[in-house]
Symmetry: C2
């Protein structure tokens, strides 16, 4: 059961003018499940993306980077679940390329105008024949109003589809931002998560998309973790069809750009947090804010050390205020000259630690009360500067072990 999250109402996910989505059951790994999604973009669209920093990045990730770097006029995305096409060597590259060629032929564009994405089991051969065979059905299904179905079509161990949509007004025109994402394990994105797709019809100069998608990823997908395992296939893509009738945005400093940036970050954060809420086995949604650091980087080190600690995560699962485990994680986070005598810690409103030791007024009953909640904020003060950062994570439960012990069976 996701933590305080339900599947999006399909009618809440506004179509984005210029974007169509088609979904089918291609039987990539299992029969009778939606596992192939095609997203098409009208001419004149711009696309930017961020991808995993895992050196074992999947073949489709390598092709996406190549096609985007070549400045190709991207016209479609093709996404399969059930197989990650990672750890597949040269054969994997051939099969990812073959997927692009097949879709390009249907759309009468060149293969470089296609971005391929795969998610699922690593180190298994991509059944490209089944994907090719599924393309006509996916293309016949193309419609503007099925972001919710597409959200379902990219799921792996997710229990519900994830989507978010927002409309803003730029120059008197309604501009839409709609996105979908999937988790739900192997989640410690390092550039972006596997997988997030966000589209807008905002009329924005193409060269502004890359800084915007990077900024949105850093504020969202790069701030979540479930198990610390950075996927081989992380991809987060921003598409702009540029069909809205407002004046073109040509500078990130303009008021329109600021409004768009804020909306993009809001949708990205919703999509990223949705992945954590539906994290494998998650029963709690935990916000970790580390403040008083010298740099944001050292705040992130401490926040991730807490977020990755199996001991912290199991204590949250048990609603056990065994909070010394959080201090231990801060201590081994790699901040070499940290002074433990300056550490403060709050659990929601409860002041647990002062000057590196138990706060005299702290009562275990207060910690217990907060630990039982489904949404908890840990706030750690390092006492050495003004930088701050926030990371979102979940607990570690029996179900995480069950899900990952059984994933392939």
């Amino acid at each position: 059961m996701p933590v305080n999250l339900s599947a999006p109402n399909p009618s809440d996910l506004h179509p984005v003018p210029g974007v169509k989505l088609g979904i089918t059951m291609a039987g990539v790994r299992k029969a009778n499940r939606r596992d192939l999604v095609v997203i098409t973009l009208e001419p004149g669209s711009a696309v930017a993306g961020v991808f995993t920093k895992n050196r074992f990045c999947a073949a489709p990730v390598q092709l996406c980077r190549k096609h985007l770097a070549a400045g190709s006029d991207i016209r479609a995305l093709v996404i399969n679940t059930g197989n990650a096409n990672a750890g597949t060597g040269e054969d994997g590259m051939v099969r990812a390329t073959q997927t692009c060629i097949a879709l390009a032929r249907h759309l009468n564009v060149s293969p470089e105008q296609i971005l391929p994405f795969s998610t699922g089991v690593i180190m298994e051969t991509l059944p490209v024949d089944r994907i090719e065979a599924g393309l006509p059905a996916a293309l016949a299904d193309l419609k503007a109003d099925q972001w919710a179905v597409a959200g379902e079509g990219i799921m792996t161990t997710d229990t519900i589809p994830k989507g978010c949509s927002k409309q803003i007004t730029l120059g008197g025109q309604t501009v839409t931002i709609t996105g979908i994402s999937k988790g739900a394990g192997m989640i410690k994105p390092n550039m972006a998560t596997m997988l997030g797709f966000m589209a807008t019809d905002a009329n924005i100069a193409p060269e502004l998309l890359q800084p915007l998608v990077t900024e949105a990823a850093n504020a969202s997908f790069n701030r979540i973790t479930i198990d610390g395992d950075t996927s081989t296939n992380d991809s987060f893509v921003l598409m702009a069809t540029r069909q809205a009738k407002h004046a073109e945005i040509t500078s990130l400093d303009s008021a329109d750009a600021q409004a768009l940036r804020a909306a993009l970050i809001e949708v990205s954060q919703h999509l990223a947090q949705a992945i954590v809420r539906d994290g494998e086995g998650a029963t709690k949604f935990i916000t970790i804010t580390v403040e008083g650091g010298r740099t944001e980087d050292e705040c992130a080190k401490a926040a991730y050390a807490i977020a990755h600690s199996p001991l912290v995560k199991t204590a949250f699962f048990a609603s056990d205020p065994n909070l010394g485990r959080i201090l231990a994680a801060v201590g081994y986070a790699g901040i070499d000259d940290l002074d433990q005598g300056l550490i403060e810690m709050h659990l929601d409103d409860v002041h647990v630690v002062t000057r590196g030791g138990r706060h005299p007024a702290y009562q275990e009953a207060d910690g217990q009360r907060v630990m039982k909640q489904s949404e908890i904020t840990i706030r750690v003060g390092l006492g050495r500067g003004t930088a701050t950062t926030t990371v979102w994570t979940c607990d570690l439960s029996h179900d995480y072990v069950s899900i990952n012990a059984d994933y392939r069976s």
Copy 2:
């Protein structure tokens, strides 16, 4: 159930001339369990140690460092379980000091000649009154032949005591090395683990002890991990009573020093591996060797990335050869210019991956056969140099979650 490990036979743990151990039930946290150990050393002994790099190191660790740095003539160690005296601020330092003063008074030495150790729950006040009250019983119990009972007296979530003993001949004289250790969670030692004590009667120049204990720790305790959580209390201490009648060892290059070093490393590795075999919830003992690196450090990065991955660990628990998870971990280990096309992987004798992709001859049945064993070796080749390293770890099971969700209750 520990993996292929049983409690040591008490008669196999040879007494070390000049060392006595006394154990009692002080009721530090729970009644009716051995939780207080005193180890005394005869005059003329030398002691060296390595301690956690966790910045939130416990009060007793801080005192140990201070007493050793002062070159104090160490005469006794006092170890309690049930309470880590970590995350306890200045009050914790006062209580650790008080413990040293109390024992020093009994032994008629100065407090600086005592090394204190604590293990157990973090961020709780050390009940120093109970420890003081227990000291007379522990001192009355002092005997040379109870290393096995002392091994029991330092346990926390360990299911069995851990000890190892070896005798070698130096200059025609029998020299003994005996040690004990404890785990069993919060184990990713970064200098040493919580806790390891090793003694020898070898006649060795005191200044040679520190390099020897550091080398032994690096070859043993610094090569294991259970959950990646570096404890606040890790300590590994080497005591030499120097009572053996061979000629004094004054250089690490001598044949006697080499023989002693090899024996110290052998005992240390046994003690360290015992911690993994009795790791919380462990059902498998996994040896991870990474070779073909440019430096030992990058081999260790890859080995620890594999060893800490919850996805890899749950796959081993399930005996599921979902081996792409190992490649993903190697990919995010932080080796920035890693070429995935050069990666090789073996699971015991089975060649799973070649040139970064599935080996053409690899059959899942072969992977399955190895995964079902209780002892498994993963061998990863990076294909970029001649450095190599080995790390030992265990799997991640339901019992790990249960133990750590229930630890304090």
